[in-house]
């Protein structure tokens, strides 16, 4: 297990370095500059400002500086919000996004799991059909459409919950729900298929033949095996969720990372774009890492063969 983890860690660092490099060079080839009000700015002043940001130095020098700062966790100063550190900006936004993400994932996973299991166990009943319809909808309706619908119908028409803003727990419900729909759908679909597959396996018969009750058979024997493939979709789901937060945060006016990312792109805030990209990548790579480890914990075949290599 130790070597397995170490190997994953090394992959992780290499991936991050690659992303950092690609982002850096892409950013520097993108049209646009961090200057505001550019069309009216005297050229002399433009030069002075670029110098201030170190943008006048040759690209390789900038790259080395950038990497050096990155290693120490310094993402630099924002170009747009003069005097603010990108790291601080990210942390400001992260708490909202994390709340949103964690709620959406946990709610989505729990509901998805239950739904998928129930659908599989009650195969062919109306619960199963309902779950299937929900899954198709959840996968095909983008979260921003759902978000807009929820905000309008639940927020404005019914006035059950606030249609937007971020003031307290009740404000987190609709956006989390909008985001979790995809998670519910994906997890339910996967768990249902896998559950059906697993329930037909011989070892389930063995478990039943031992005289185990239905709950023990399902929870101890079926669920764990059905979960393994479901865990593999957690990484792409996290990605989907992250991109989902981009729009959901706009729709619900949530001061999260998605807001920050869109904002930094709109205003050509180079350091912020690079910072957020790096942070997103970091999150993603770490979540993939965690999924890998989880996978290893749940499936001994992976863990043990991984160790042998």
């Amino acid at each position: 297990m130790g070597r397995f983890v170490l190997k994953r860690l090394i992959y992780m660092v290499i991936t991050l370095w690659l992303i950092a490099t690609i982002t850096f060079f892409l950013m520097h080839n993108l049209p646009g500059s961090p200057l505001q009000n550019e069309e009216k700015l005297p050229p002399e002043l433009k030069e002075i400002i670029l110098k201030e940001y170190g943008l006048d130095k040759p690209l390789p020098v900038q790259y080395v500086n950038y990497l050096g700062n990155l290693i120490t966790g310094d993402l630099g100063n924002s170009y747009k919000y003069d005097g603010r550190k990108v790291t601080d900006m990210i942390m400001d936004g992260f708490s909202a996004s994390a709340t949103l993400g964690v709620q959406a994932i946990s709610f989505g996973v729990v509901v998805g799991l239950i739904l998928g299991c129930v659908a599989a166990l009650r195969r062919g009943t109306w619960i199963d059909s309902g779950a299937t319809v929900l899954s198709v909808l959840g996968v095909s309706i983008p979260s921003f459409v759902l978000g807009a619908l929820l905000s309008y119908y639940v927020g404005v028409e019914l006035q059950w919950l606030p249609p937007a803003l971020w003031e307290g727990w009740e404000y987190t419900i609709l956006p989390s729900l909008a985001l979790s729909f995809l998670v519910i759908a994906q997890i339910a679909r996967y768990v249902r298929t896998e559950m059906l597959e697993v329930l037909g396996q011989d070892y389930i018969k063995t478990a039943k033949a031992k005289g185990l009750g239905r709950p023990a058979v399902i929870i101890r024997h079926a669920l764990r095996n059905a979960l393994i493939p479901a865990i593999t979709i957690m990484a792409p789901l996290t990605v989907a969720l992250l991109t989902g937060t981009l729009v959901i945060e706009q729709i619900f006016a949530i001061p999260g990372m998605g807001y920050m990312f869109v904002d930094s792109i709109q205003t050509n805030d180079f350091t912020a774009i690079m910072g957020v990209t790096m942070f997103y990548s970091f999150l993603l790579v770490v979540s993939i890492f965690i999924v890998d480890i989880l996978y290893g914990i749940i499936d001994p075949r992976i863990r043990l063969t991984g160790a042998k290599e």
Binding site: K205, A209, L212, R220
Partner: protein, 343 residues
């Protein structure tokens, strides 16, 4: 119920509802198993052996399966009538089962030890430590070396033969009165097969368990079984002691079986001659003898009506065949079948 009988199956009917209609997998099976006895069920694949054996433990998937009628008497209870909760108490404790493929019948994500302990904790009210002790004992009993470390391993770390041993350990952990082994050696290679059979024979003696052994291999039957039940198309067409079936088989299907099945106990030279034709479609089984279409000796009556069960030679040897009818012409079994036994 006969005092000597461990199990009595009476006129068991099991069907599956499919898109195409009702598959009548088991159509009136009757047999019994005495205490300490090993009964072999033989027959071509698809004839209902597994369905019969799983029905005994009420393990057929439901839906689509259903026990339509019949009785399964075990320990003074008709298992077809027992509540599911009570059935759970019988499974694994009084009746245990070993499946064909040891590669797939163990849970890949649970240690072998835990899989053995599970049944013990459930049925014997054992604590974890006690169950572990017993599991170690079982592993030792089924001949797994260094059980102390093996107990913590996962099935994928075991070889095929080892896994089947582990399966046997699971099955026998609670010292069941009846062990059902559904082709326990089919998936194993030949040398291992012999070891597993030997182990089963050994344990049967030690634990005084009755065994229902489902197999393709007549050699296995000759080695371990006391009695044989021959099944065809969901029906029992002949039963008898090993002696009777091997030396005086009466049903043309049994003859065909003798010629077509491998025999672990015989010299390699014997040539296998498959039975021509295919078994009937169980969606719409024929109303007469199901073997009639493939039978060289079939008469008009065979197509029209199912023959009665007839006792021949002894009260243990029974056969369902029109050839036993007094008006039927005398037909001799092929010579290679009768002389084949080496006992």
């Amino acid at each position: 119920m006969d005092q000597n009988n461990m199990l009595e199956v009476r006129d068991l009917h099991v069907s599956f509802q499919t898109y195409n209609g009702e598959v009548q997998a088991v159509r009136g099976v009757t047999f019994d198993v005495k205490k300490g006895e090993t009964v072999a069920i033989v027959g071509e694949s698809g004839c209902g052996k597994s369905v019969t054996s799983q029905s005994l433990m009420r393990l057929i998937p439901q839906p689509p399966g259903q026990i339509k009628s019949g009785e399964i008497w075990f320990d003074g209870k008709d298992l077809t009538q027992v509540a599911e909760k009570d059935m759970e108490k019988i499974r694994g404790k009084d009746i245990a089962m070993i499946f064909q493929d040891p590669m797939t019948s163990l849970n890949p994500t649970m240690t072998v030890g835990k899989q053995i302990m599970e049944g013990l904790i459930k049925h014997q009210n054992m604590g974890k430590d006690q169950a572990r002790e017993r599991a170690l004992e079982m592993l030792r009993l089924v001949g797994i070396p260094s059980p102390e470390s093996r107990i913590h391993q996962y099935p994928h770390q075991f070889s095929g033969g080892m896994r089947q041993r582990a399966m046997i350990a699971i099955a026998l952990a609670c010292a069941p009165k009846l062990l059902i082994a559904d082709e326990p050696t089919t998936a194993l290679d030949v040398t291992i097969q012999a070891q597993i059979l030997e182990l089963m024979n050994d344990l049967k003696e030690k634990l005084e368990t009755s065994i229902i052994l489902i197999t393709h291999d007549l050699g296995v039957v000759a080695d371990v079984a006391d009695r044989v039940v021959v099944m065809y198309a969901g029906k029992v067409i002949e039963t008898g002691t090993v002696e009777e079936i091997f030396y005086r088989p009466r049903h043309p299907y049994t003859w065909g079986l003798m010629g077509s099945m491998p025999r672990l106990d015989l010299e390699q030279e014997k040539e296998l001659t498959p039975i021509l034709g295919t078994p009937p479609d169980l969606l719409s089984p024929p109303k007469g003898c199901p073997f009639a279409a493939r039978c060289k000796h079939a008469m008009k009556v065979c197509q029209q009506e199912m023959p009665e069960t007839t006792e021949v030679d002894s009260e243990t040897h029974k056969v369902n065949c029109w050839l036993e009818h007094p008006m039927a012409p005398a037909v001799e079994p092929p010579a290679e079948v009768v002389g084949g036994g080496s006992k």
